[in-house]
């Protein structure tokens, strides 16, 4: 069984969905304690508030506040349980599609404006 190092192989890695569509990067790894057992990886989180919190709690709060102002906070940061990770190679491939998460919420919000400006 292959071993993976959390910081080297999982954290900050590119994340793609079942169709190889980019969802973002592993911005935070969530560890949890099981009763009477060792800590284990529970989930990964994707999104600016997860990323910001890693840099500094204040940065995380500012990112969260901005998401609130722009009404983008629902389902964010995107939390994906570890059993939805299909494999970890060049990127972290998830067993779900982008549409099942709020990872591309900002992209979807901006798309109509950009489409109008670029003519396509």
């Amino acid at each position: 069984m292959g071993e993976l190092a959390l910081a080297r192989d999982l954290q900050d890695k590119r994340v793609v969905d079942r169709n190889n569509r980019e969802l973002g990067r592993v911005d935070r790894v969530v560890l949890g304690e099981t009763p009477g057992g060792p800590p284990r990886v529970l989930a990964i989180e994707i999104g600016p508030s997860a990323l910001g919190a890693r840099l500094h709690p204040v940065v995380g709060r500012i990112a969260r506040a901005l998401e609130h102002i722009f009404r983008l906070e629902e389902g964010r940061p995107v939390r994906v349980e570890v059993d939805r990770i299909e494999h970890i190679q060049d990127s972290v491939k998830l067993d779900l599609t982008a549409g099942e998460t709020a990872a591309l919420a900002v992209e979807q919000r901006l798309r109509p404006f950009v489409k109008r400006l670029s003519g396509g």
Partner: protein, 404 residues
């Protein structure tokens, strides 16, 4: 055949795309104030750039990652936010200097004050980014930039003493103004080895789908293209030394620098200078803006690519829109573009270790470049020059600002 076409096109566009506000201003000032004495600085900076560009292409072709993507994965965001913030800050200043430079080019042709042209130039930069793909951005400006060969022709036509030129390729101490000499040598380094070029080139390698099998294309384009491009920069310095130096004109404005082409090209001199400055600055502005979008997108994991529909990369498009707006607004504040360029270049050298050293670490990590790691000499050369340059910049920049 296609690979050979790629190499030729790559070399030609490297030559045409070499010159921009930084290289014109530093080479013009260096030539006017110190004759040929700073040719060695251009030579060393050019070799450094060629080595780094080859490395960035190699990293991208082998690892299928750009520099910013690889730095995020390898070192994490807790480290990366420092070089990313530094690079984006300096790039915004450089962008405004390039927009200002392009606006001055239009002023040279029309006589109408440069501030009137800043907003239209900013808008043009944004439109090019919105409407065109990577090939047009890179090759289009590279081919148009061949107008800068007028500096090489002018330098040749003025018949500089060959012996003096060759001697000036070795570092020497100046006869006057040591602080100014050191500041200009640091600025030449910053103008030539612009950090944005590294990630831009690695992103281009991914955009053009260059593979590990085509590393020879990358190597040939980087070394030949960049080295020939350096000759254009030397052309500016030599022409300035031959024309402006004897008149003791100190270049404090692009209007003064433009005079260097008049003795050779007469009534076409100003127009050729303006076209060279305009095309060079516009091309650099487009590259800086798109590289900022590359950097953000790759570090944060957004979808990116100049060859994709803009609506499929909305955050990427928003990023280059915002930085273009920021650069244009700073340029509209009316800072003298030449002065802004010089300060930005010196700051570029100060932050260079933070960008180059992690890059060197990646180039020695076989998880990214497999068997194509750097040689010990290459590592020592780049690390040494980068740290020396930064130390010199930290000492010289305050002295130049206080003394000036």
């Amino acid at each position: 055949m296609s690979a050979i076409v790629d190499v030729v096109l790559g070399i030609v566009t490297s030559i045409g795309g070499f010159i921009e506000a930084g290289s014109i201003s530093t080479s013009a000032q260096a030539g006017a104030e110190f004759g040929f004495q700073l040719l060695w600085a251009i030579a060393i900076a050019t070799v450094m750039l060629a080595v780094m560009i080859e490395m960035s292409g190699r990293l991208a072709a082998v690892s299928r990652r750009t520099i910013d993507a690889a730095v995020r994965e390898r070192f994490g965001i807790s480290f990366q936010w420092v070089p990313l913030a530094a690079e984006l800050g300096i790039d915004t200043l450089l962008l405004s200097a390039e927009i200002g430079g392009a606006a001055i080019a239009v002023k040279l042709l029309t006589g109408i004050g440069f501030l009137w042209w800043v907003a239209p130039v900013g808008l043009l930069v944004w439109l090019i980014l919105m409407l065109f793909g990577f090939s047009v951005i890179e090759y289009g400006f590279g081919l148009l930039g061949l107008v800068t060969l007028s500096f090489v022709y002018a330098a040749y036509h003025l018949r500089p003493p060959t012996h003096d030129l060759v001697r000036s390729l070795a570092p020497s101490m100046p006869h006057h103004d040591l602080v100014r000499y050191a500041f200009l040598s640091v600025s030449i380094l910053g103008a030539t080895v612009s950090p944005y070029l590294l990630n831009f080139y690695s992103s281009g390698t991914i955009e053009e789908k260059l593979t590990e099998k085509e590393l020879w294309v990358n190597r040939t384009t980087a070394y030949l293209g960049i080295c020939f491009g350096g000759v254009v920069s030397m052309g500016v310095l030599v022409t300035s030394a031959m024309v402006l130096g004897p008149k003791q004109i100190i270049v404090d404005s692009y209007d003064q620098a433009a005079l260097m082409l008049v003795p050779v090209f007469h009534r076409w001199g100003i127009a050729l200078f303006a076209c060279s400055l305009g095309v060079g600055c516009l091309g650099a502005a487009v590259e800086i803006a798109i590289n900022a979008a590359y950097a953000f997108s790759q570090a944060l994991g957004w979808s990116w690519g100049a060859n994709k529909a803009r609506s499929d990369t909305a955050r990427f498009s928003a990023a280059f829109t915002l930085i273009t707006l920021a650069g244009t607004l700073i340029a509209l504040l009316g800072f003298d573009p030449l002065r802004l360029t010089m300060i930005s270049l010196a700051l570029t050298v100060v932050i260079m270790p933070v960008i180059v050293l992690p890059f060197l670490a990646l180039m020695n990590d076989d998880r990214y470049v497999k068997t194509h790691t750097n040689s010990a000499f290459g590592n020592a050369f780049l690390a040494g020059l980068t740290l020396l340059g930064a130390l010199l910049a930290i000492i010289v920049l305050p002295l130049e600002v206080l003394g000036g």
